[in-house]
């Protein structure tokens, strides 16, 4: 009986995992050309030159199978950072403000577009 309740609780917990449609794009405010950009398990096409931004991408994000991580490749190094999630079902832009190739730091912020 207790095991049944435990399994039910677990299933209930899993059903509350964050899962929804996300619309996002990435903007490059750094002075570097960014390649191999990946967000929420989705590889973005092409590269982003300074001050360029990608098209919007749409994904059904499930935080049990994907990760809220932005990966980007710059000057021979791969950078990763957890990205914030919008509280509502908004379109968002992840703005990469700075990539410090010396200290290997990356700074990003999220802009809610609508």
């Amino acid at each position: 009986m207790m095991k049944t309740i435990g399994v039910a609780l677990l299933l209930l917990m899993l059903s509350f995992l964050y899962q929804e449609e996300l619309n996002f794009r990435v903007a490059n405010k750094t002075k570097h050309t960014l390649t191999h950009i990946r967000v929420f398990g989705t590889n973005l096409q092409g590269e982003l030159k300074p001050n360029e931004q990608s098209d919007y991408y749409q994904t059904i994000y499930n935080d049990f199978t994907e990760e809220a991580i932005l990966m980007v490749y710059v000057e021979g190094k791969n950078y990763g950072i957890y990205v914030p999630l919008s509280q509502r079902n908004n379109r968002v832009t992840y703005i990469i403000d700075s990539i410090d190739t010396i200290n290997r730091n990356i700074l990003i912020r999220m802009q809610v577009d609508e």
């Binding site: 435990g6 609780l9 677990l10 917990m13 995992l17 750094t30 002075k31 570097h32 191999h36 950009i37 990946r38 398990g41 590889n43 935080d63 049990f64 199978t65 990760e67 809220a68 991580i69 990966m71 980007v72 490749y73 000057e75 190094k77 791969n78 950078y79 990763g80 950072i81 957890y82 914030p84 700075s98 990539i99 410090d100 190739t101 010396i102 200290n103 290997r104 730091n105 990356i106």
Partner: protein, 427 residues
């Protein structure tokens, strides 16, 4: 933790950051292999593995080895040290002693960590930990653990370096991942179901060299029980040591040092020709099932030395930071003048305005490059750091509003080369 343990642990982190700099090596390795799926999904990595990858869910075991490697290095400094765990589901306040200046707070400015508590996410609740530990399938458990708050929460909540793939740069990373490891230990004690496809791991494949020493090849399946590394987690004031045979595999004397009561029994065996020591600040209890074999060198003792050690240690605090300008000639104050040429690099031109300096410094480089401006006080503390991206003009206004005084200005490029290093006096 006792004051002695805290002081020694902080000292050890600073010591690991000096010389061969194990902290930076680990941070760079963690960053380089964090996740490679944006480049090549078939390449091995250590986070967020895909279901069809051979190294799927290597996350838990890889970080267990990283904690063990760190703890071994610390024990070479002080055998009584072990990495404590930060239970982020219980110790949730930014006013916690965890973050005080004599502990993890010590590193915030000295290592430019830019922590911003609560900025990027929440810590896990105790209930979420309890629920997670009920999951029975190892891959589901590991996957959930890695992606959800029990692991990611602390990274997001601390923010700064912790929210990036270079998170081992922050010492609290090690306290957090020791907690992650303890939870995996707790889960494995209940479910006994951890399993890996691979027989080696990145960094621990028998080829990686750090500081002249080749790290061992480690089969992940050989360390799914933390006892294989001689690790026993204490909880609620009690360290229970059981089902273990002392082998001296990793250390010539295995020291089990706890401030808590140690209870050893239930097939804890000090084997023949091995050396081991159980040492507690409070109490050591040997229960049925404990065996010290004939020919073993076994001791159990109460540590009464820590108070005097602490007093001595306070007078011998390890330097918090090697002065980053030790190579700078400080006898001569930089004589600011407009357009002064740097003798080492004629292409680097310094200008101050007005002259004498009290307002603006301009540094002109011969070509655009990434560089960092660092301002230090004369004790070696980093006061200000600013990254300049792909530029050939660096302007520093009012020396970042710092008070009048003497500072060292250093500009370093992406190759780690010092472009400019000068002692300056702000009027």
């Amino acid at each position: 933790m006792t004051d002695y343990e805290k002081t020694e642990l902080v000292n050890a982190f600073y010591q690991l950051r000096s010389g061969a700099d194990m902290i930076t090596d680990m941070a760079n390795f963690h960053m380089d292999y964090f996740n490679m799926d944006n480049i090549d999904a078939n390449q091995m990595d250590i986070h967020f593995n895909l279901p069809n990858e051979q190294d799927k869910e290597i996350f838990l075991v890889w970080h267990r080895m990283l904690m063990f490697e760190t703890e071994q290095a610390m024990q070479a400094i002080n055998p009584k040290l072990s990495i404590p765990y930060w239970d982020s589901s219980a110790d949730r306040l930014e006013t916690s002693p965890l973050w005080e200046e004599d502990f993890m707070g010590s590193f915030e400015d000295n290592w430019s960590l830019n922590r911003n508590f609560g900025h990027d996410g929440l810590l896990p609740s105790p209930q979420s930990i309890t629920n997670m530990l009920q999951m029975s399938d190892f891959f589901e458990f590991s996957n959930f653990f890695e992606r959800q708050l029990p692991h990611s929460g602390a990274h997001r909540w601390v923010s700064g370096a912790m929210v990036t793939s270079a998170s081992p740069r922050d010492p609290v990373f090690y306290l957090h991942h020791t907690f992650v490891d303890k939870l995996w230990h707790d889960w494995e004690e209940t479910h006994d179901a951890s399993f890996y496809l691979r027989t080696d791991m990145l960094r621990y494949d028998g080829t990686y060299v750090f500081d002249g020493e080749t790290l061992p090849l480690v089969n992940p399946n050989s360390i799914v029980d933390s006892r294989a590394l001689g690790v026993f987690y204490a909880e609620n004031g009690l360290a229970t040591l059981d089902n273990y045979i002392v082998s001296n595999t990793h250390l010539p004397e295995e020291l089990f040092y706890y401030r808590f009561t140690i209870q050893a029994g239930d097939n804890f065996i000090a084997a023949e020709n091995t050396t081991s020591h159980l040492q507690s600040i409070s109490e050591v209890i040997l229960t049925p099932g404990f065996l010290a074999e004939s020919g073993s060198n076994f001791r159990a003792s109460i540590d009464a030395e820590t108070t005097s050690l602490l007093a001595r240690n306070n007078q011998q605090q390890y330097p918090r930071e090697k002065k980053p300008f030790d190579d700078v000639e400080l006898e001569q104050v930089w004589l600011w003048s407009e357009g002064e040429m740097d003798a080492k690099d004629p292409a680097v031109v310094m200008q101050t305005f007005p002259n004498p300096f009290d307002n603006k410094i301009t540094i002109t480089l011969n070509k655009k490059k990434d560089c960092v401006v660092e301002i230090y006080n004369l004790t070696g503390a980093l006061i200000k750091q600013e990254f300049f991206e792909f530029t050939d003009i660096i302007e520093i206004n009012d020396l970042y509003g710092l008070a009048a005084g003497t500072y060292v200005v250093k500009v370093v490029d992406a190759n780690g080369e010092t472009l400019v290093a000068k002692k300056v006096v702000k009027m």
